[in-house]
């Protein structure tokens, strides 16, 4: 009973308190942090890489780095900002590595042939079956449009609009100024508006 109460209490902790609890030897705090962020983070990385299995691996790597370096976390930024920053760097490194190695996945090959109008929709494992055909098409078009954005706009847009981070957090994750973050997100919206003009 006591253990169950402890777990229940820990789940109510804020992120910083959970990190402190973990540093004091409470591994449950670690699990709670993972449970809190694992889905969001894996989907965030997948939004960049479009490789779900690799995204899950990188999400795990993110947590491993966080846990190994938890003693260095000083609460200067929010915990989520730190987490997203590590994940973003890992995802970007992965993209660079793929570019260097010339590993073109089907997705990238299609992108080469048609940057803005991909002729064939890729199967999307994330779509729930109850979505209508039109909703699926609309979602696919949106994702395609987001993917076609230049990287700096895409990352800022995904963090702010899809992951629902604040402008300040987005700027901190990307290590850019607040003004630059706002400008990139603004630019991303303008580009998306152009690309999705048939839907809007």
């Amino acid at each position: 009973m006591e253990e169950a109460a402890l777990v229940r209490n820990v789940t109510e902790f804020g992120d910083n308190a959970l990190v402190s609890a973990y540093l004091e030897g409470n591994e449950t705090a670690f699990e709670v942090l993972m449970t809190r962020y694992q889905g969001r983070l894996a989907n965030y990385i997948n939004g960049i890489l479009h490789d779900y299995d690799r995204s899950v691996e990188l999400c795990q790597e993110t947590f491993i780095r966080v846990f190994r370096n938890a003693h260095r976390y000083q609460g200067k930024y929010q915990f989520s900002t730190w987490l997203y920053r590590i994940a973003t760097n890992l995802a970007i490194d992965e993209l660079r590595r793929r570019q260097r190695k010339g590993r073109f996945f089907l997705y990238n090959i299609m992108e080469l042939f048609s940057r803005d109008e991909r002729p064939m929709p890729l199967p999307d494992r994330r779509q729930s079956p109850d979505l209508t055909y039109d909703a699926k098409q609309q979602r696919l078009k949106l994702k395609t449009a987001i993917d076609s954005l230049p990287e700096k706009y895409r990352l800022a847009f995904i963090l702010k609009e899809v992951q629902d981070l604040s402008y300040e957090e987005t700027a901190q994750v990307l290590n850019i100024s607040l003004g630059t973050a706002k400008s990139r997100i603004h630019r991303a919206k303008l580009l998306l508006r152009e690309k999705l003009s048939d839907l809007l």
């Binding site: 993972m34 889905g39 939004g47 899950v56 795990q60 947590f63 780095r65 949106l142 609009e161 997100i185």
Partner: protein
Amino acid sequence: MNCEQIHELLAESLSWEWDEEVMRHLKECHECSKFCDDLKTLAEMTADLQNEEPVPPEFQNQVFYRLSQSRGAKKFVTPIILILGVIAAGSFYWYGGDKTEPDWAPASSASAEVQLNDELEGETTFLEVEVDSSPEGGYILRLPSVIRIKHSNLHEESYITNVSH
């Protein structure tokens, strides 16, 4: 307020309380009104992307497994560092202490090879050597289980902060 300023305000946030001037502009300016509607639709569509696909059920177990693996590998760190230290000291003596080099010596580099024991090799094909200890900027080199190190300033600048597998 001109259209450009209105666009900037709208792009920054659609949820704030607009003052009368903005509202009046939106009523009178078809272009800005359309821009506002487009951004609202875009925000609604984007919110739909937040639906998450759950991670695999074994996700957390795999994290703990990988962590335990790296902890297990830590016992190899000290011997490896000791070996590297001996090699570094040797190369320092070679280049710094004794200036007379034998004819067969390499011109400007020292090298080392570290072979891990069979126990570790049996479990993994690669070692991960964390070159930079910074959590945000650090990167990990995946190396074969035999590490060969060749560096001209091995004794001065080269160090390995973490080795895991």
